[in-house]
């Protein structure tokens, strides 16, 4: 098992109306359990505010859970939705990718070698990245840079939080293909988060449907799409526009 989450909880307190007063508690993640096996993709689908990004941050360790626990079978990293805001505009692309190694005290040679490796994995030319900054790249290329940054420490688990939502459809197709190829080449385990049921079906082995901080249904991909059990899953499927799609 590469990811095993048991009864994960994360609550946030809204600020009260009066200064210093206790506000309402928001149960962003409210008792979530799921597991993912090595080399597999767990697709997490849900609408805005359902808690899916909070869950991503719990799995990545950016946030600490208020309850429950999470076991990971290896190192992990994350790719965020918006490759415009997630890459430091003042660093060259190579610096962006190598930074996480630098802060961990890796030497120049190791960093250079790993950055080249990561760039070739995401099919970017090293010579194009040497002295160029993120803004000089297109949206799809930037998302490749963000993926290279996630790969540079050779993690076994990658959390993908809406990685293709801000991209044009043809660029999205290229990134989805790349993610599948990388999984095959490196046996990566993915937690793939999206509001798009078609994209989730395309990449996932198992799918969890999240609503109001809870996973309301988890099943193998074929089952969730062919025989959804929870009314909310059925509702989401009915909402997919264009029946031919």
């Amino acid at each position: 098992m590469m990811i095993k989450a048991v009864d994960l909880r994360k609550y946030f307190r809204r600020r009260g109306a009066v200064l210093g007063s206790a506000g309402e508690t928001v149960r962003a993640v409210d008792g979530v359990s799921f597991h993912v096996e090595k080399g597999r993709t767990f697709g997490l689908v849900g609408e805005s505010g359902c808690g899916k990004s909070t869950l991503a941050r719990l799995v990545t360790g950016i946030l600490r859970p208020d309850g429950g626990n999470i076991e990971l079978g290896g190192d992990r990293d994350i790719v965020f939705q918006d490759p415009y805001s997630s890459l430091n505009p003042r660093m060259t692309v190579k610096e962006v990718i190598g930074e996480s190694l630098l802060v961990r005290g890796a030497g120049r040679d190791v960093i250079d070698a790993r950055v080249s490796e990561a760039l070739s994995l995401v099919r970017l030319e090293e010579k194009d990245c040497d002295k160029r900054y993120p803004h000089q790249f297109s949206g799809g290329e930037r998302q490749r840079i963000a993926i290279a940054r996630a790969l540079v420490r050779r993690p076994e688990i990658i959390v993908l939080d809406e990685p293709v939502s801000s991209l044009d459809v043809s660029i999205q197709a290229g990134i989805l293909n790349l993610l599948k190829d990388l999984q095959d080449e490196l046996s990566l385990t993915y937690l793939f988060i999206s509001h798009d049921l078609r994209v989730v079906e395309f990449v996932s082995d198992t799918v969890g449907v999240m609503k109001d901080g809870r996973i309301v249904e988890t099943a193998a991909r074929e089952d969730i799409y062919r025989a959804p059990r929870h009314p909310y899953t059925r509702h989401l499927l009915e909402c997919v526009s264009g029946k031919r799609f």
């Binding site: 660029i171 293909n177 062919r226 909402c239 526009s241 031919r244």
Partner: protein, 266 residues
């Protein structure tokens, strides 16, 4: 009979032709989808119709006829009367289109009063009629934009666009930023308004699944050029241009068994 005709419009920014010989016909009661990816020129085409091209853009050739009259030949004051009154537009991101410190009801009445002289009671009636049309609860009038959800904000800007019963309604990716269930509601609302009130509708999108749901006609745009157009049924069942096929095929479908998605030659 077309109410708005774009004829051979060519616009350049610097050396680049961002709109290159584009022609489009919009007819009452019809939804025309303008499909293309970022940078294809679809938003600029809509802005050209309103004579709102950015200062860096130069119109090289072409005409935009509203009821047979070339918009570019009209004096500025007359074009201002057309905007929002006869030709209305809904932008992609509703939050940036709204005034954050003005109550929602007031923003809609402002849109009504921009082109109509009306007693206060009449304005109030009209605003409540518009709220009803876009299915916003009446109480929303007292709220501020930040208190509304994304879907409600999009209904609000739609109410503003409909304030003066426009004959042409242009929507620029109005559902791209919304959740699937909300997206569906907005699409159904746009279709209902199109059939009931009959404004010729231009719907800008990059997503063929949305086109499938909403459009009567389709024009596909790439690098400033319309590469294919026609009835939706024809274009979607027998796409002639490779780019149209690619835009349709690169979206994963429900029940998709493909291992990889085509990424084409772009």
């Amino acid at each position: 009979m077309s109410i708005l005709e774009i004829k051979e419009l060519t616009v350049s920014i610097g050396q680049r032709r961002v709109i290159d010989g584009v022609s489009l016909d919009l007819r009452p009661g019809e939804v025309t989808a303008l499909v293309g990816e970022s940078g294809s020129g679809k938003t600029l085409t809509a802005l050209a119709v309103l004579d709102l091209l950015p200062g860096s853009a130069v119109r090289q050739a072409g005409r935009v006829l509203f009821k047979g009259v070339d918009i570019f030949s009209l004096p500025g004051e007359r074009v201002r009367q057309l905007r929002g009154n006869d030709i209305a537009m809904v932008f992609q991101e509703p939050f940036t289109a709204l005034d954050p410190v003005m109550r929602c009801g007031a923003q809609v009445s402002e849109a009504v009063l921009a082109h109509r002289k009306m007693p206060r009671a009449g304005v109030r009636r009209r605003v409540s009629e518009l709220f009803d049309m876009v299915k916003l609860p009446d109480g929303t009038a007292q709220s501020y934009p930040h208190e509304l959800s994304g879907g409600m904000r999009q209904r609000l800007v739609l109410a503003m666009a409909l304030a003066c019963d426009p004959e042409v309604l242009m929507l620029d990716e109005p559902t791209t930023a919304l959740d699937v269930s909300i997206q569906n509601e907005i699409l159904e609302l746009v279709m209902r308004i199109n059939k009931e009130k009959g404004p010729a509708t231009l719907f800008i999108t990059h997503d063929f699944s949305v086109v499938d749901m909403i459009a009567d006609r389709v024009s596909v745009m790439k690098n400033g050029v319309i590469v294919e157009d026609g009835e939706k049924g024809g274009v979607m069942t027998r796409p002639m241009h490779w780019y149209t096929r690619q835009l349709m095929e690169c979206i994963p479908r429900l029940g998709d068994t493909r291992r990889r998605l085509p990424t084409g030659r772009t």
